[in-house]
Symmetry: C2
Amino acid sequence: MITRLSQLFLRTLRDDPADAEVPSHKLLVRAGYVRRIAPGVYSWLPLGLRVLREVERVVREEMDAIGAQEISLPALLPREPYETSNRWTEYGPDLFRLQDRKGNDYLLGPTHEEMFALTVKGEYNSYKDFPVTLYQVQAKYRDEQRPRAGILRGREFIMKDSYSFDLTDEGLADSYRAHRDAYERILARLGVKYVIVSATSGAMGGSASEEFLAESEIGEDTYVRCLESGYAANVEAVKTLAPQPIPLDGLPAAQVHDTPGTESIDTLVDWANAAELGRTVTGADTLKNIMVKTRVPGGEWELLGIGIPGDREVDEKRLEAALEPAEYVLITETDFANNPFLIKGYIGPKALQDNDVRYLVDPRVVDGTAWITGADEQGKHYVDLVAGRDFTPDGTIEAAEVRDGDPSPDGAGTLVAARGIEVGHVFQLGRKYTDAFEVNVLGENGKPVRPTMGSYGIGVSRLVAVIAEQHHDDKGLRWPAEVSPADVHVVIANKDESAREGAETLASELDKSGVSVILDDRKSSPGVKFKDSELLGVPLVVVVGRGWAEGKVELRDRFTGESREVATERALGEVLATLRD
Amino acid sequence: MITRLSQLFLRTLRDDPADAEVPSHKLLVRAGYVRRIAPGVYSWLPLGLRVLREVERVVREEMDAIGAQEISLPALLPREPYETSNRWTEYGPDLFRLQDRKGNDYLLGPTHEEMFALTVKGEYNSYKDFPVTLYQVQAKYRDEQRPRAGILRGREFIMKDSYSFDLTDEGLADSYRAHRDAYERILARLGVKYVIVSATSGAMGGSASEEFLAESEIGEDTYVRCLESGYAANVEAVKTLAPQPIPLDGLPAAQVHDTPGTESIDTLVDWANAAELGRTVTGADTLKNIMVKTRVPGGEWELLGIGIPGDREVDEKRLEAALEPAEYVLITETDFANNPFLIKGYIGPKALQDNDVRYLVDPRVVDGTAWITGADEQGKHYVDLVAGRDFTPDGTIEAAEVRDGDPSPDGAGTLVAARGIEVGHVFQLGRKYTDAFEVNVLGENGKPVRPTMGSYGIGVSRLVAVIAEQHHDDKGLRWPAEVSPADVHVVIANKDESAREGAETLASELDKSGVSVILDDRKSSPGVKFKDSELLGVPLVVVVGRGWAEGKVELRDRFTGESREVATERALGEVLATLRD
């Protein structure tokens, strides 16, 4: 195929769009690949659509290779199945909801677990039919609170989602592994640098779950890794390495001290070090108790106390993930007024336990650890209040922030933080949805069996942005050959008619060899054309320019920036050889 | 590609689905091609999706061949552009509307004129950029009042829509012609029998407009054709052939008669023939006046009188099309009460004109025609009330039904009615949308030029149903080769292990030759397999069955029903030769 820039629906921009902050967004707009229609809603212009389709092709090839079968479900979905699974409510404002002319409720599908479970239930009824894996590539909808960075976090976006159905846990593990491997191959083919991190499963339910994060400084997902062991996890999924419990025998008794004006950890630590307790005190020796209210959707609000070492902040995402599916809010003045045992700045474990308030602590608060913490009276704190002796929490909670230098959960070294963009997600969902829809099939022994599901997603349109994010320079995009909108970009940079004819001939020969060509046959100046070739980012550029008179054309490598001249009659062979490498 | 039925996500059904009335719907569900999710909302299972993709491929090839460029706009669209064009209101309840979390209004795109006009405005600004034609293949949404016949009339459906932008009317005519020709090629390749009919443009605005109707008894569109001239038109678009005006001189004067109890045309005709008027009277000699109220969207309701010959009914679709974009309702008892000059059963032109009510008549009511019509008093009618002498209508309206035997508008013969399914539509839209969005480009003379638009749609998912509707028998589907989900269906109908191996070898050799194969390798009986091969509808079936022991396989033609035996060693060559034909 030859694409002539004189005909192509394309207008490149010299200036960055005003609303763009990240390189991929700036460049994809400047290069005329995408255009904004509304917040988080974009259109794909011809070259952008080609890249999108190339990504789709790679994804489909790898899905087909693991025996997944493509189907296509609608985006417009009835409420009932999502009511059954409770996600109609759980999704909250992220779900686009609408009504039809008869007042029936519909939604725009954010992900399709319910529909695939029902689809399999509708067709299959015997163990002989399993395992089966289905997938689709399709527009999905999420009403993101903060759509961001162009197509990176959109409200309408293209996603490949697949769902495996197995009769045994081992089967599910195999399907999961097959997907994980396929995702690794997809990302390798697309030239995406990524890490696989342990993840919580969020509103999806289920157990084993990993995320594929593209490495990127502009990523919204923070993850941590242990360079020594290779351990990597989403911050929400990091399990704190708890210390060994300490024998209670011989620990000093708890004492109440007057600590006026120590509502903050800093002032408390200052007091402690001035009080000559016989040791140097840091925030890590204090236990601060944060009060929230939680409820499961539709339920009653209940008080919850969370105790974490005073040198750490609560990480809202970790707290949210730890409480899910329950939601939470911080308590208000009214709550303090209604619960007079809560003394602001001096809340301690004892009042919570005495008043039957659920109390969860950081995993570092093991038995035998001694804390400086609130004594539930204005201006008073305990010193040496010992866990497992003076108070007994109702359990632990992963709510405290994770820091660079924290020990890796596997004990192999320390954690360092990095940022990434979620591009894929694999889940062992289990039977949450097959239970909800009572999917039973006849087992080998004649008894009903309930299939177990895996759910797997890869962000197709997001990957276009991620590839642009990881492969660009200050001049423009640099597409990996697998997804480039063309194989070769031929620039006519010589007004001589014979040069034009030569370029046309070369393009035509390349086309006959199955090579897709962008041919810049516009009347613009060579400078404009070179700039556009850099901006558009086809990996191999052929310039028919000054050297034409001496029988030479120039080959430019968009990735390395290197260029070399080759004799005109050898140009076709050289280009084909370069593309083969 | 080899698709093994032992693995394929497919369950064929022996019984017709309860909600299906038309053959394509029954068969596409029974053969496991599509499944219902909600009214007018379907999912595509593996084989259905393949057929859909084949139709898309043919459409894309023909669009690319006329130089149209593919882009992709979102389905989720902001309200503002549709507000500007007035279609946010005009579309009425057919439009799916929704709000995002911030309360902003959105819609699900039913068609994209607004967005394409804005897209071209955003990129192009000079006469040098034109003409340009853009297209997309995409899910569209219309909240049909009566979703019908499976995927034939869905609420979420796949459509190819394209839009041409030209600077001159001649250019628009060329773009229109190119699309018209492309649609003819598409339908020919898909094996669809169709007619092209003149059409009104409905809510789209604009002038020249034709519909491609697939011939089908189950079609919802009634069209008429003149067998003598080849004229064909949508019923809404038929222009009545008006008779010549009659000189007024010498016509008898109008007389008022007592006609008690003649509220209906039948009773009026009976009275007239009993009254010895000196001629035989039929309903065609009477003029009945129907009262409606109309308003442009957002405007006030106004009375409108419509006069048509008494032997014809009002055709609601024609009336609706004639009044568009205004809407109408029949008047109520309250309206009669508020307008005492309207005497039910005796309404005549005179009271309407005396009371400044707009009055439109059928084109047959030309000057000099004499009518029996209401005299605006209880139990009284005029005889010989002459148009152009005794009353002067405000204009004509195409509201009366069209009948078999009516003269063709081109005067070449008579009209006969037939039914069809709209599969394509081509419009010369003109400047409705470029005016609305003030799309100006720099003209060759330095002055601004406003591009003129064409709009062209073809129903991709509907075509799957139409092909099934036109190509099936009582045993199942019969796909034309261009869209078949596979090239060959190989049935293993012999339990002998060597037969199975032979079938596998044949499938593998076909695959290597680039032929896509469905291989029925299930353990089912030959009878079940034969039935499924007929139901699924691949045009060429190879049976490795009884003849295997004598070195023979059977080739079955699904279209003709013919079968022949060929020697096993010649099977590959025979299949390839058959596919080439």
